[in-house]
C-alpha cells in the first residue's frame, strides 16, 4: 500500500507540482474553451492564454503573499 501511495505521490508531484490550483485553472480553461468553441460557436482562442496568465499570477501571489507579512 505504501508503495502505491509513494508511486501516486511521485506522479502527482511530477505533473501537478507545488500548486494544484494551476492545474485546476488550466483544465477549467480548456473546458470553457471547448464549450465556447463547440456549443456557442465563439472563436475562443483567447480563453486559455488568459487562464494561463491568471493561473501563474494567482499562484505567484499565493506563494509570496504569506512571506510579506
Amino acid at each position: 500500500m505504501n508503495r502505491i501511495k509513494s508511486f501516486g505521490a511521485f506522479w502527482y508531484d511530477f505533473v501537478i507540482g507545488d500548486d494544484w490550483h494551476v492545474a485546476v485553472i488550466v483544465v477549467a480553461g480548456l473546458i470553457v474553451t471547448a464549450l465556447l468553441a463547440h456549443v456557442a460557436g465563439i472563436p475562443a482562442w483567447w480563453v486559455l492564454p488568459l487562464c494561463v496568465f491568471g493561473a501563474l499570477g494567482w499562484s505567484l501571489h499565493r506563494a509570496t503573499a504569506s512571506r510579506r507579512s
Binding site: V26, L30, P49
Partner: protein, 259 residues
C-alpha cells in the same frame, strides 16, 4: 513547424536536466565508487528506455485532437511549474538552484553512508544514488521528448535535441570533472518554462476545438507574450520589495532532485 525550434527547445530543456543528473552522478562516482555508479546509471537508462518504448507508441495511437488536448494540458501545467519556480527564484522568494551546493550536499551524504554490497552491486549507496538521479531527471527528458515529438510527428528531431544535450553535458562533465556551476540554470528554466507553457497553451486550445488566428504563426506571438507576462510578474514581485526576502520557507517545497 520547422524542426529547428523543436530541436532547440528539447535541447535547452534537456541540458538543464542533464546538468542536474551529472551533479548527482559525479557526487556518487568521485566520492564512492565508479563501477556501482555506472551500474546505477545503466539500470536507470534501461528503465527509461522501457518507459519510452511503452508510452511513446501508445500515445501515437490517440487521435490527433485528443492527443493535443491531453498533451497540451500536461505541457501547460508542467511549463507553468517551471515558470513559477523560475520567477520565484529570480525574485529571491525561492533559493536559486546552486549546483555547487547541491554537489556538496550529495558528497557529504555519500561520505557518511556506509558501504554495503547487495544484489551483485559492490556499493549499493552509489548504485541507488546514481539510479534515482538519472531516472528522475531522465523522466522529465522522456516526457518532453514524447510530448513535443509526438505532437509534431517528429520524434526523431526531439531525440536529436535530447541526445545532443546529453552528449554536450557528459563531455563537458568528463572534461571538468566537477558540477557545471557556470550554466545559467534559472534563466534556462525560465526559457524552457516559456516554451512549454506556450506550446501547451497552443496545442491544448487546438485540442479543445479552437482555430488559432494565423494557425501556426500564432506561436510567434504567443511565445513572446508568455515571456513578457512572466517577465512582468518578475518586475511586479521585485516592485513589492521582495527581492531581498529570505529564500524558501517551509510552505515551499525544498530543493529536490528534478526541481
Amino acid at each position: 513547424m520547422n524542426a529547428l525550434p523543436l530541436i532547440l527547445t528539447v535541447f535547452v530543456a534537456c541540458v538543464v536536466e542533464a546538468v542536474e543528473a551529472l551533479t548527482i552522478v559525479l557526487a556518487a562516482g568521485l566520492t564512492r565508487e565508479w563501477k556501482s555508479t555506472f551500474q546505477g546509471m545503466g539500470a536507470a537508462i534501461i528503465v527509461l528506455a522501457v518507459v519510452t518504448a511503452a508510452i511513446g507508441p501508445a500515445i501515437s495511437f490517440l487521435p490527433l485532437t485528443a492527443l493535443r488536448l491531453v498533451i497540451g494540458a500536461l505541457l501547460a501545467i508542467f511549463g507553468l511549474q517551471w515558470l513559477r519556480k523560475a520567477v520565484l527564484r529570480a525574485t529571491g522568494y525561492k533559493a536559486l538552484h546552486d549546483e555547487a551546493s547541491a554537489y556538496l550536499r550529495e558528497v557529504a551524504a555519500a561520505e557518511s553512508a556506509t558501504k554495503e554490497s547487495r544484489r551483485g552491486v559492490s556499493d549499493w549507496y552509489s548504485f541507488t544514488l546514481a539510479f534515482k538521479g538519472v531516472l528522475l531527471e531522465g523522466l522529465e527528458v522522456v516526457f518532453i521528448v514524447i510530448t513535443f515529438g509526438d505532437n509534431q510527428h517528429n520524434i526523431g528531431a526531439a531525440v536529436i535535441g535530447a541526445a545532443a544535450a546529453i552528449v554536450v553535458v557528459t563531455i563537458t562533465g568528463i572534461a571538468v570533472k566537477a558540477p557545471l556551476t557556470k550554466v545559467p540554470e534559472n534563466w534556462m528554466k525560465f526559457a524552457v518554462g516559456v516554451m512549454l507553457t506556450s506550446f501547451g497553451t497552443f496545442w491544448g486550445a487546438e485540442g479543445a476545438g479552437v482555430a488559432w488566428p494565423g494557425n501556426d504563426a500564432a506561436l510567434l506571438v504567443l511565445i513572446p507574450l508568455v515571456a513578457l507576462v512572466a517577465a512582468a510578474y518578475i518586475f511586479w514581485l521585485r516592485g513589492r520589495g521582495a527581492d531581498r526576502a529570505a529564500p524558501a520557507s517551509a510552505s515551499e517545497s525544498p530543493e529536490v532532485v528534478g526541481s
